[in-house]
């Protein structure tokens, strides 16, 4: 039904993770996944609208009405369809109770693919920058939550979601970011992927912070510091075994994410390790504040979400490790 060959990414030019959605939906339907798409007037931006051009009868536009979109998606899913919904991450937040009662509690086969996640929406400013979405979706029992690190992984996550019944949240992004998996995806739901081994500490990251963490690890290596880098694309269910191994083998953890620092991957990692293998930890994320308008990389810099920010946290955690 699916392929592991990256088709959106013959090229290694930077690409936005959202670019995976439209082509992957079309291929999934072509492969017999019985896909329908429910949309709320952002299909051009999320790229879901490409599906409409090929399968118009399977594409339902609900207008600018996210509450209705999610409940309609739940109803469609009762008939056995693989239902994809798409909007911006902040507007998925708009309809939390519909996600809860029309999708999560009944455990229906609805995939929420929300683009423009995080603060890297940039110029649109605070209202368009979702810094709470991972916390919200991770708080819904039954939801699988995935934040792909690049367009190749986004495609693989979409394919995996279509193979796996149940509610999924997949966060994609607006800006074109470097492609990490140039030779194909390694995505497995619920499994961290170790991009770089190391012995002094482990950097756990998701989304666009993965590539920035790899750059931080390069910089640290030049200082003689050996950093492991784990791509924790699946936030829920969290790969606690990989975290425990990282804590045990490297003795210090830095978590890097494009999300509020106190309610996202870092907080969940800390909880898991507090139970299994407590070690010094540092957290790189959006501080307790809203964003602002600037270019996407400028906003990331304002928030400290840079390779330098990760490297600084690494040095700090190593000092605590002693």
């Amino acid at each position: 039904m699916t392929t592991t060959t990256p088709s959106t990414t013959g090229a290694v030019a930077p690409a936005a993770t959202r670019e995976a959605l439209g082509p992957t939906l079309i291929r999934l339907q072509r492969d017999g996944a019985d896909v329908v798409v429910v949309d709320a007037d952002l299909g051009k931006s999320t790229t879901a609208r490409q599906f409409r051009d090929i399968y118009p009868e399977r594409f339902f536009t609900m207008g600018i009405a996210e509450q209705n979109m999610f409940s309609v998606a739940g109803g469609l899913a009762t008939l056995g369809y693989t239902v994809f919904t798409s909007t911006f991450a902040v507007f998925a937040e708009h309809a939390f109770d519909q996600l809860r009662m029309s999708i999560a509690q009944p455990r229906l086969n609805v995939k929420v693919v929300a683009s423009h996640g995080g603060v890297s929406t940039g110029e649109d400013g605070a209202s368009a920058q979702s810094i709470e979405d991972i916390a919200l979706f991770a708080s819904l029992p039954t939801f699988t939550v995935v934040v792909p690190a690049d367009v190749v992984e986004a495609e693989a996550a979409l394919e995996a979601s279509a193979r796996t019944p149940g509610p999924w949240y997949i966060r994609t992004g607006r800006p074109k970011i470097p492609v990490i998996y140039t030779d194909g995806p390694r995505f497995q739901v619920g499994k961290a992927h170790m991009l770089r081994d190391g012995s002094d500490l482990t950097i756990v990251a998701c989304g666009l912070m993965v590539e920035r963490s790899l750059r931080a690890a390069e910089a640290l290596a030049a200082e003689g510091i050996s950093a492991r880098v784990l791509n924790m694309a699946t936030i829920r269910p969290l790969d606690v075994e990989a975290l425990e191994r990282a804590a045990t083998e490297t003795g210090a953890i830095v978590v890097a994410e494009e999300h509020l620092v106190h309610t996202g991957l870092g907080a969940m990692t800390a909880q898991a390790l507090a139970e299994r293998a407590p070690v010094p930890m540092e957290f790189v994320g959006v501080p307790d504040r809203y964003g602002e308008s600037a270019t996407w990389d400028q906003v990331l810099e304002i928030m400290g979400l840079t390779a330098d920010g990760v490297a600084t946290a690494a040095r700090k955690v190593l000092a605590r490790k002693g």
Partner: protein, 274 residues
């Protein structure tokens, strides 16, 4: 697979009402008022209108009933039990530890419950999704969505109303139990929304309103009309009495979500012919 046995609706509605009072009294919680006002509508739906098979609740071509006013589970469970979806004796477990009969509707508990509800305003959207999915599959089954009148204050209802008309969805039948009382008070005191019929017509629906929701023949005639509307979604607004069937509960905002006392229970059961 239509229920075509000559169901005695009068007797059925009395039994459903007695179940409702008994369930809420036994559970010491639950929503009597809005269950009693919907009893005749559900009896007619399951007894005369809907294509369904209690022996095969997952039958792909069944008509679907979506309970949007998800607090009114007593009338839903009582009706399903009376039609044989599960044993009537199980009604005694309502709201108690380990029961399938949850306080508010949970999909599949028991089979025959088609949606999860309790947060108001979602059922019409959910039913629209089911009907869109059926239409794409080429299945002519109907979807009936029962909403409360206070529920019309939820904005999502109007998102769904707009979308159903936009997509020219027929065989989607919305039903409003217009009992004029919501949790705290009368609907007109809390938040006026009349006229409902003109609002839905303006959204592109076929509407019948002012129907006596306790006149079984009138209920059947109106629902049969709505079932046969084509090219548009259809709505029937039934004028009902909250707490219908028990004198001191009728039109009494005190019986939205409160259980009867021992004395009230005894009197209610007497009035319902127990």
């Amino acid at each position: 697979m239509v229920i075509d046995a000559p169901v005695d609706l009068e007797a059925l509605t009395q039994r459903i009402r007695r179940h409702i009072v008994q369930m809420v009294y036994t559970a010491r919680s639950g929503h009597i008022g809005g269950s009693m006002s919907s009893a005749d509508i559900l009896a007619v739906l399951y007894g005369r209108i809907m294509k369904h098979d209690p022996a095969d609740p997952q039958w792909a071509e069944r008509d679907r009933f979506v309970m949007s006013k998800g607090h009114c589970t007593p009338v839903q469970y009582a009706t399903l039990a009376e039609f044989g979806y599960f044993p009537v004796e199980e009604l005694a477990t309502f709201r108690q530890k380990g029961t399938r009969l949850q306080g508010h509707s949970v999909i599949g508990k028991p089979a025959g419950v088609e949606n999860s509800a309790g947060s108001l305003g979602m059922g019409l959207s959910f039913g629209l999704g089911i009907r869109l999915g059926l239409r794409l599959r080429g299945v002519d089954s109907h979807v009936y969505v029962l909403m409360g009148d206070g529920e019309q204050q939820e904005g999502q209802v109007w998102e769904a109303a707009m979308a159903a008309a936009h997509h020219e969805v027929d065989r989607l039948v919305a039903i409003i139990d217009r009992n004029r009382i919501q949790n705290d008070d009368f609907t007109d005191t809390t938040m006026r929304f009349s006229p409902l019929d003109e609002k839905y017509r303006a959204f592109g629906w076929e509407v019948r309103s002012g129907i006596d929701g306790h006149n079984l023949a009138a209920v059947e005639e109106a629902l049969a009309w709505a079932r046969d509307v084509r090219g548009k979604p259809a709505l029937v607004i039934f004028e009902t009495t909250k707490g219908k069937g028990v004198s001191f509960m009728e039109n009494n905002p005190g019986f939205h979500g409160a259980p009867p006392s021992d004395e009230q229970y005894a009197q209610a059961m007497r009035e319902l012919g127990a």
